[in-house]
């Protein structure tokens, strides 16, 4: 079973050619990705979702996800919402705690974002457009509201148990698999902005790699969604290592960023960390603009 999904805004306003084409081009990009991945060999059960962040604008408070089952078995799919904010632990690992009933002080969109339909059965090769609608019942403050979309899918029949209807003469044991993909949902009233502050990095060489902790603190009234890049350069400017990490900073994070040193000779290098509002899994037009921030530090590779 394979489920394909892509996200596109639903148009309910006056038709505007430029806007339509911009969205069409975005759809084209996503469609190209879906086509490319759909051409891979079928697996037993798969959920594919693009983009990986769902953004609902208050001016057009509806968006759509299309689910496509390109597998050979029916797929049972359900959609629900929960709340959760990314955080980092004491060593910089990122984690998230999902909470269906967040505190009232949290900017939660869980109670006003809905999926229609929220349960469906997709036949093999079938597709279904699921509309995500934001309908806040109260006047919202000028800040971003968040939720997490859970897309649950499983095959209509167990994938690991024989299909014979004859009663077995012994004990046969198999477990079916269910997968749940949890994606970020952003609801944006008008007047949102974001920014990021990056502290001086705390760097050490250990475990055959450069390990860096850097504190990221969001400004503005919306999450910073983008990437942090680490680039290691020698005195001539030659790049010896590079890594881009996609992330979202809702309030603050202090992630661990590692850069392998397997092919890096001894010497003194400059490590540059930068954060920019770009991610390979989210179209740029969906991200809030923000100033690129950078920090540099010297690193000695023994």
């Amino acid at each position: 079973m394979k489920i394909l999904a892509f996200n596109d805004r639903v148009h309910t306003n006056v038709w505007r050619a430029g806007e339509w084409v911009r969205d069409a081009m975005r759809l084209m990009r996503i469609a190209a990705g879906v086509v490319a991945l759909a051409a891979t060999p079928l697996s037993a059960q798969s959920v594919l979702i693009a983009p990986t962040a769902i953004i609902i604008d208050a001016n057009r408070p509806s968006t759509a996800i299309t689910l496509v089952n390109t597998g050979t078995a029916p797929a049972e799919v359900s959609l629900s919402f929960t709340f959760g904010l990314p955080a980092t632990d004491s060593v910089g690992n990122m984690h998230i705690t999902l909470d269906e009933s967040p505190a009232d002080s949290m900017p939660s969109a869980v109670d006003f974002v809905h999926a229609y339909p929220s349960r469906l059965v997709l036949p093999a090769g079938g597709r279904q457009v699921v509309r995500l609608v934001a309908a806040p019942q109260r006047k919202l403050e000028a800040k971003e509201y968040w939720a997490r979309l859970i897309v649950t899918s499983r095959q209509g029949r167990p994938m690991a148990v024989g299909t014979s209807t004859d009663a077995p003469a012994d004990a046969q044991v198999a477990l079916d698999l269910e997968v749940r993909s949890v994606l970020a949902v952003f609801y944006r009233p008008a007047g949102l902005s974001t920014a990021l502050d990056m502290s001086a990095p705390n760097t050490r060489v250990a475990n055959g790699q450069i390990e860096t902790r850097v504190r990221l603190q969001r400004g503005g009234n919306a999450a910073f969604v983008g990437s942090v890049s680490a680039v290691l350069r020698d005195s001539t400017g030659r790049v010896h290592g590079k890594k881009d990490i996609p992330l979202g900073v809702y309030y603050d994070l202090e992630p661990l960023i590692t850069l392998g040193l397997a092919s890096v000779p001894k010497g003194t290098y400059e490590l540059e960390l930068s954060a920019r509002p770009e991610r390979p899994d989210v179209p740029n037009g969906m991200l809030l603009p923000a100033k690129v921030v950078k920090q540099r530090t010297a690193v000695v590779v023994p």
Binding site: F6, A17, G18, V21, A24, M25, L27, M28, R29, I30, A31, A32, G33, V35, A38, A39, S43, A44, Q45, V47, I49, A50, P51, T52, V68, T70, M94, H95, I96, T97, L98, R127, I150, P158, A160, V161, G162, A167, P168, D170, A171, Q172, V173, A174, L175, D176, L177, E178, V179, R180, S181, V182, A184, D244, P246, L247, G248, R279, P280, D281
Partner: protein, 181 residues
């Protein structure tokens, strides 16, 4: 009747928009006809586009203990072909959090059977022979996708049939939840 453009560049823009629109619609139509696309092996085309990396979570192999004998425990190791297997793909170096809902007993009608000693291994290549071991549970396990955006997870466990275990097809559900940051 004549058509005059107030801006000489407007016609050019309109033509460009139309061309982009045709390309977009064509690609969308291709998407919904992926099966035929795969079947066409004699034609090829180069397409240049900016592709947003999607998130994919796949269950590629169910956990199968096969036939059990009363009183004889059976373990499926993470390296066994019968181990459960998942693959996750997304943005390169993307952080994900994984949690599992694991059944402690599985049933066949009114009969039940205990499954425990759950074990898991994750690897950025599709091989269970190496990687990082962890215990699948409701507690989150943080992982980072590879530089090409892949992660593979293998899960095994031990089934404990009783000495008078009733015959039947025992089934349960193992759930993997992947949170994308």
């Amino acid at each position: 009747m004549s058509l005059r453009l107030s801006n000489p560049l407007a016609g050019l823009r309109a033509f460009r928009l139309s061309a982009e629109l045709i390309i977009a619609v064509s690609l969308v139509l291709l998407m919904f006809d992926a099966g035929r696309l795969q079947a066409q092996t004699s034609a090829s085309a180069n397409v240049t586009a900016s592709v947003s990396q999607p998130l994919s979570v796949s269950a590629t192999n169910g956990l199968a203990f096969g036939t059990l004998f009363p009183g004889n425990n059976k373990t499926v190791a993470v390296t066994d072909a019968a181990a459960a297997a998942f693959s996750i793909s997304g943005a390169a170096n993307g952080n994900v959090s994984m949690t599992f809902s694991i059944p402690t007993t599985i049933t066949s009608g009114g009969n039940s059977l205990t499954v425990d000693s759950w074990a898991a291994r994750r690897n950025t290549t599709n091989s269970a022979s190496a990687g990082t071991d962890f215990t699948p549970s409701a507690s989150a396990t943080q992982a980072v996708l590879s530089g090409s955006g892949n992660l593979y997870v293998f899960v095994g466990a031990t089934a404990h049939p009783g000495s008078s275990q009733a015959a039947g097809a025992y089934t349960g559900t193992l759930t993997l939840t992947v949170v994308y940051f």
